[in-house]
């Protein structure tokens, strides 16, 4: 092992209580991700992939087991520390884009910059990324005026604008045609290789998964 583990998950379970019914979303997940790794997670719908991501970002509390990010136990963190974790360490690209509907694409990205404590203009390399993603000329539009694929790419730009240590991308190519898919995947590969960006990517697409260093399969809340 050349690099220490940036993510360490041991015996993680997550049970949702829906009325009287218990939904076991995660049934004991063990996962280690080293700094600078590009990991693809594949698995059937409902296998708990998104749930795992939400837990890694401190958005959802665990039921049992431990999660360490950068060596720190999530369970031992205060709310403020978890907020800080999302602000500085973990960047999300959500399955459902989740852009703020009242703000333009640009302001959606700037808002995240602002929350991260940066107030600078987009630098040249980020401008370049926007061009690569094919959304540089769509920045003034509100999400409503963008196609699903464009929104997805704005969400990707938003996820990386603060250069988080860990990028959690939930089906980033789910709504993209093959050309744009390739652009997004190349971009992620490039970030990974050039800047050592740690990336976890959920995908249903074997082609997309082939960009990763390692493929993790999930079934029924477990890694197989």
């Amino acid at each position: 092992m050349s690099e220490p583990a940036i993510i360490e998950v041991n015996g993680l379970t997550k049970t949702y209580q829906v009325g009287d019914v218990e939904v076991h979303a995660l049934r004991g997940v063990d996962l280690q991700v080293r700094k600078g790794e590009f990991v693809a997670i594949i698995g059937a719908s409902g296998s708990g992939k998104s749930t795992l991501f939400h837990i890694l970002g401190g958005l959802t509390p665990t039921t049992s087991g431990s999660v360490r990010i950068n060596g720190r136990d999530l369970a031992g963190m205060t709310n403020t520390e978890r907020t800080d974790l999302r602000k500085t360490t973990v960047g999300f690209v959500f399955q459902k884009y989740n852009l703020l509907p009242t703000l333009s694409a640009e302001d959606n990205i700037r808002m995240v910059q602002y929350i991260g404590g940066r107030h600078t203009e987009f630098d040249a390399s980020f401008q370049e990324i926007l061009k690569l993603l094919g959304i540089a000329d769509r920045m003034k539009h509100k999400p409503r005026a963008l196609s699903g694929g464009q929104q997805q790419r704005v969400a990707i730009a938003r996820g990386i604008v603060n250069s988080p240590a860990i990028l959690l991308a939930d089906e980033p190519t789910g709504n993209l045609d093959s050309e744009n898919s390739a652009a997004v995947l190349k971009l992620m590969k490039d970030l990974n290789q050039r800047l050592g960006q740690t990336i976890l990517m959920i995908t249903h697409d074997a082609d997309a998964a082939s960009y990763a260093d390692r493929i993790v399969r999930m079934r029924d809340g477990r890694i197989v």
């Binding site: 939400h54 958005l59 907020t83 999302r86 602000k87 009242t102 302001d107 808002m111 602002y114 929350i115």
Partner: protein, 364 residues
């Protein structure tokens, strides 16, 4: 950046924003109009009191600064007072309250003339017959009265003998003895105005009289007019208090509703903000800023509306209600609006902060 989001949010639901602003505006107008009318009425009362031209006012025990409800003093007192050192002249009047802030005053025009040169008549002339009445120009304008008209007040038909320039003593005057008899107070007075030979001695004369006429309310005119403030008129003070209370509740409810629906509707947005690292403080900050903006816009609009109510009063009821623009109350009313609004935003704010992020993100 935050402000951009706030403006975008407010612009996203223009009708809700507009209604909130309007409700807060009405709240502010309500306060400012009431305060304006209170100040206007008090100032006019003071101005008329000064216009009498007396140096000292002598009132029965237990009377309040505005309004006299009885006439408990004997009309022998003026003659008695005139024997006091330095008192040059004393004039007694009787005041009978009418509806609202209006009242009718009984006086002796000759005495009044000795005090200050008398009324200046714009139309008609002084009281001659017992059923003559004279009124000031504002009252005449409001009631559309002309000399010769019949005016029914205190269950009595009067003939309008003259219209005088306002600002002296009273708005509606009749002969003293007529009013005394009509109201069942023969030989009784409500207040007495005194003139001293040297105005600089007024305070000394008042001090001396207070020792001699225990219980009576004796003031120099200056003292008396300074008493005509909201704080010294208990009834007005509590009335304004009640209206402010109502206004705060209205503001609270409106903002509560507006912000509560906004939070419900923005469940997802709030979830997104949290997911990208926004702290609870930032979420509250955004919500409270939005609320503050609503309150400020509402207050500004409310102040503008106050000029509207002022105009209305000047044209509809020029005599009985005078509304002043009380600039000092602009920040107070704005502050009240802000407090009500921020209180209303607390519960929605807590709800927003407590909301589960992932559930919010599930929506679509």
């Amino acid at each position: 950046m935050l402000n951009k989001l706030i403006f975008a949010n407010l612009g996203h639901r223009p009708v809700r924003t507009l209604l909130s602003v309007l409700a807060i505006a009405v709240e502010v107008t309500m306060i400012l109009t009431l305060v304006g009318v209170s100040y206007g009425t008090l100032d006019q009362t003071a101005q008329r009191a000064r216009g009498v031209g007396a140096d000292i006012i002598f009132r029965p025990p237990g009377s309040s600064a505005i309004g006299l409800s009885s006439a408990p003093m004997s009309d022998k007192i003026p003659a008695l007072l005139m024997q006091e050192p330095h008192v040059a002249f004393a004039m007694g009047t009787m005041v009978q309250p009418l509806s609202g802030f209006d009242s009718i005053t009984g006086l002796d025009l000759d005495d009044f003339h000795r005090l200050n040169g008398g009324f200046h008549f714009l139309q008609g002339g002084p009281l001659v017959n017992d059923n003559d009445i004279i009124v000031d120009e504002y009252y005449a304008k409001q009631k559309k009265l002309h000399v010769g008209d019949t005016v029914n007040l205190v269950n009595h038909d009067w003939r309008l003998a003259g219209i005088f320039e306002g600002g002296k003593l009273a708005r509606i005057c009749v002969k003293l003895h007529v009013l005394q008899e009509l109201t069942g107070n023969p030989g009784h007075l409500s207040q007495i105005f005194l003139k001293v030979d040297d105005p600089s001695r007024a305070q000394a004369v008042v001090d001396a009289m207070r020792l001699k006429f225990k219980g009576y309310q004796i003031y120099t005119m200056e003292e008396f007019t300074s008493l005509l403030s909201i704080n010294s008129v208990g009834m007005l003070k509590s009335f304004i208090g009640v209206v402010i209370g109502v206004a705060v509740v209205v503001g609270f409810i409106v903002v509560f509703m507006a912000m509560y629906t906004a939070v419900l509707e923005r469940t997802r947005e709030i979830g997104i903000l949290k997911a990208v690292g926004a702290s609870s403080g930032l979420i509250l900050n955004i919500l409270f800023r939005e609320t503050l903006l609503l309150a400020l816009l509402g207050a500004a609009f409310g102040i503008v509306l106050t000029y509207g109510t002022q105009w209305l009063m000047r044209h509809a009821v020029p005599a009985s209600l005078v509304q002043e623009t009380v600039y000092g109350w602009w920040p107070i009313a704005t502050g009240i609006a802000i407090v009500g609004a921020l209180l209303g935003a607390i519960v929605p704010g807590v709800k927003a902060v407590k909301q589960d992020v992932t559930e919010a993100l599930c929506y679509e």
